[in-house]
Amino acid sequence: MAASKTVGDALRSNGVSRRGFMKFCAATASMMALPPSMVSAVAAAIEKARRPSVIWLPFQECTGCTESLTRSHAPTVESLIFDSISLDYHHTLQAAAGQRAEDAMEAAMEENYGSYLLLVDGSVPTGDYEAYSCTNGHTHLSMLQKAAAGAAAIVSVGTCAAYGGIPKANPNPTQAAAIQDLVKDKPIINVPGCPPIPTVITGVLAHYLTFGTIPELDAYGRPMAFFGQNIHDRCYRRPFYERGLFAETFDDEGAKKGYCLYKLGCKGPITYNACATLKWNEGTSWPVQSGHGCLGCSEPDFWDKGSFYRPLSAAYWGDAKTVGISAAAGAAAALAASALARGKQKKAQQEEKA
């Protein structure tokens, strides 16, 4: 598709009805916490928006983020909206391969220099390990630097791109870094999640199409509209938490009754994402609804925060060995203090006798 075609034209040629389009706009406006009066403005902006050139660079990743976006059972309005951007490079999704793909990327970057949107999934190995992740002979660090230079804004899709993710997990064998740690002079939107919710990815793009700006971000660079709310606060199992009703194991009576999963290590109370409200697979379900606690995958370093099944309130207090050594040190201090006291006492007695 030509980059000059508007989103509205693209949608109509894909057979999206006006009603379907307006429903999408209403849902998008609602997700972005905009008042209902803004729906028509959103619709007008998206319809008239020139399809921006988008370059998607996959780095040290598992392609799960791309899978999340594309593996829907039926084509949705969201996926059509995604078709309606000019996706000029995505080596998993594009038809071209090898040098032709590279050429397409080069051409798109040149043609839209300063105005294309750069989407990145995966972290980037750095330092001595830079060469551990390459595409067509180029290290991902060099590719990022080159692509970022001409980008209007960068969207870090997935926790690996946003915060380093699993590749950065201790002991970080490739010195993997997040995009925001490597690019400092461009606006960056983090859309974390392992993978992120497809609607959130398209929602962020819709915001960009509508307003031409990056949305309001939280302290971790995430759009407030999708990551402003705590999973625990929005969880449909929250009333069971308040009533003290918990699943003790994954197959006990409590689990069958849908009680709270806090005791089974749910990280909902410290996780910010839209899973509890938007859900997955076209609003069908989400991890907690399917009976498993939240892993906190949209939070930085979620992989390093201990077992997924350890309750949040169980601290890493140490172990028996540390406590034993501490007790031995305390006993030694007691013996020394006692010996000192007895010595002083003896001296005082001798002085008294003298």
Partner: protein
């Protein structure tokens, strides 16, 4: 698991749950064993012949001193029973709040039933109210003010902070800071309590009953009323 490990970009909550808690436990254990060990080693053999049952006297005093003495009842009854009340509140919150139970269960290896959160919130508010009342009383009463040291005020603060931060974190009254930060402050306030515990008046938790027994036993041995 990376128990007690630091990693780049660690959040305050990660620090509180991991390294801070680990070090607080180490200092707590060293302090407790040192203080108790020194107390036990300082006891002397009494060579005089006993004039009464030391065990009986010890147990009797342990019990009688757990209620206000008749002569002083009018003056200290309020302090005595409010003292009991907030300690009971503290134990209810500590043992029957679900997150707290899970903290201990992780160490002990077994769980027990807990109370719904409205009960815990009730006990927290009541306990904080009593603690504040007792602090005001300590500052207003001329005698109490005279005998209070920095240890008393600091120990009060260290005991009060976990209730306050726990309540604020739970109720999401965070004054603009992130909920995770408030939760981290709650854990850090407990770390502060653990660190201060062996070295200040909080140590009474471990020595109050043995010392009452010991005083009673010593008096009984001498044949005088404790």
């Amino acid at each position: 698991m990376n128990e007690g490990l630091y990693w780049e970009g660690m959040s305050l909550l990660d620090f509180a749950r991991g390294p801070a808690f680990r070090w607080a436990v180490i200092i707590f254990v060293i302090g407790i064993v040192w203080r108790l060990g020194a107390l036990l080693l300082s006891s002397r053999k009494d060579l005089s012949s006993p004039k009464g049952s030391t065990t009986g006297g010890g147990v009797k005093t342990l019990l009688t001193r757990s209620a206000p003495p008749h002569e002083l009842e009018k003056n200290i009854v309020f302090q005595h029973y409010t003292g009991y009340a907030w300690h009971i509140g503290m134990f209810v919150i500590l043992l029957f709040g679900t997150p707290h139970m899970l903290f201990f269960a992780d160490i002990l290896g077994f769980t027990w039933p807990t109370l719904p959160t409205p009960f815990i919130t009730f006990f927290t508010v009541v306990t904080m109210g009593i603690l504040l009342t007792l602090l005001v009383r300590r500052m207003m009463n001329p005698v109490l003010r005279k005998i209070s040291t920095m240890d008393d005020y600091f120990s009060w603060l260290v005991a009060f902070l976990p209730f306050l931060t726990g309540f604020l974190a739970f109720a999401h009254i965070t004054f603009g800071i992130r909920y995770e930060t408030m939760l981290a402050l709650h854990i850090l306030s407990v770390c502060l309590l653990l660190v201060w515990f062996p070295f200040g008046k909080l140590m009474h938790a471990l020595v109050i009953w043995p010392s009452r027994y010991k005083v009673g036993a010593a008096f009984a041995r001498k044949g005088v009323q404790a």
